[in-house]
Symmetry: C2
Subunit: 163 residues, 2 copies
């Protein structure tokens, strides 16, 4: 038995059933705003500058919309189906803003299995108040071989204090 805290174990096409569900949870931190701006190149001050954001219609800094998309992709790649998944298609509808300290839950539900190891998932990202933040569908090629991978340790990332 592998220790699931240290490993990424996949769910193969044969193991997946219509109606199966999985979740993936993350809380938005200030660091996430900076890291997503750096890695995407979207340096809109709405995500980065507390003063600017305070004067916007959102009243405070909000997450990049595609951060929620990134969480959906992480759920598919690491939870269900997990390692070995090939991402084919994703649709996303952005429903409401995400604010600092919001805790998002990505909910995946298997809508249908298709020939050639294709699986279609309903994807719903909800916040801690159970409000829908992003909805969509994903189509993937699910893995056919069972694998259990170690989880790499990320190098330490340091963000210089601002002001």
């Amino acid at each position: 038995m592998s220790d699931t805290l240290d490993t990424l174990e996949n769910i193969t096409y044969n193991e997946i059933n219509e109606g199966d569900t999985a979740t993936f949870i993350r809380t938005l931190s200030e660091d996430d705003l900076v890291l997503f701006a750096a890695v995407s190149g979207d340096i809109n001050p709405l995500h980065l500058d507390p003063e600017f954001a305070a004067n916007s219609i959102f009243k405070e800094r909000i997450a990049h919309g595609m951060w929620s998309g990134a969480l959906i992709s992480a759920a598919l790649a690491t939870v269900m189906p997990g390692p070995g998944t090939v991402y084919l298609d994703q649709s996303l509808s952005f429903k409401r803003p995400v604010k600092l300290d919001d805790t998002l839950t990505v909910g995946l539900t298997v809508l249908r299995k298709e020939p050639r190891n294709r699986v279609v998932f309903k994807c719903e990202v909800t916040n801690q108040n159970n409000q829908k933040v992003v909805t969509g569908e994903a189509k993937v090629i699910a893995p056919t071989e069972k694998v259990s991978l170690y989880k790499p340790t990320l190098p330490k990332i340091t963000i210089e204090a601002q002001n």
Copy 2:
């Protein structure tokens, strides 16, 4: 005249015409792999571990698919229409992997203008060999007021050297 290197100037709904195009260019670095893993939570070794990736079907580390999605969102948020854009919908089809040092160009083309300031864009992400990496469509609410924002400076991000 504002210096466009230091500012983010938007293109309003009235200024946008069918067929208009814009581009946004980024090159995939090792840092991007680490930062995207950190900010999304997708720590699949395919993106992080050179040895593991060498033994995969891809033969080397590849970008998270949704990194290309993040670049599309950055193009919409910072180039066309730019600041003030509200993201409504995005579809993404993942066509081929992205490898280290690949230079991706996000190409946006205005497919149509719709009532209530809605604009639909064709989105194509191509690599330096002009191969399509990701294709899709985006729907946004374009800004109606012209704005020119300063570009915030990102804090310095340091990634600890590995091993």
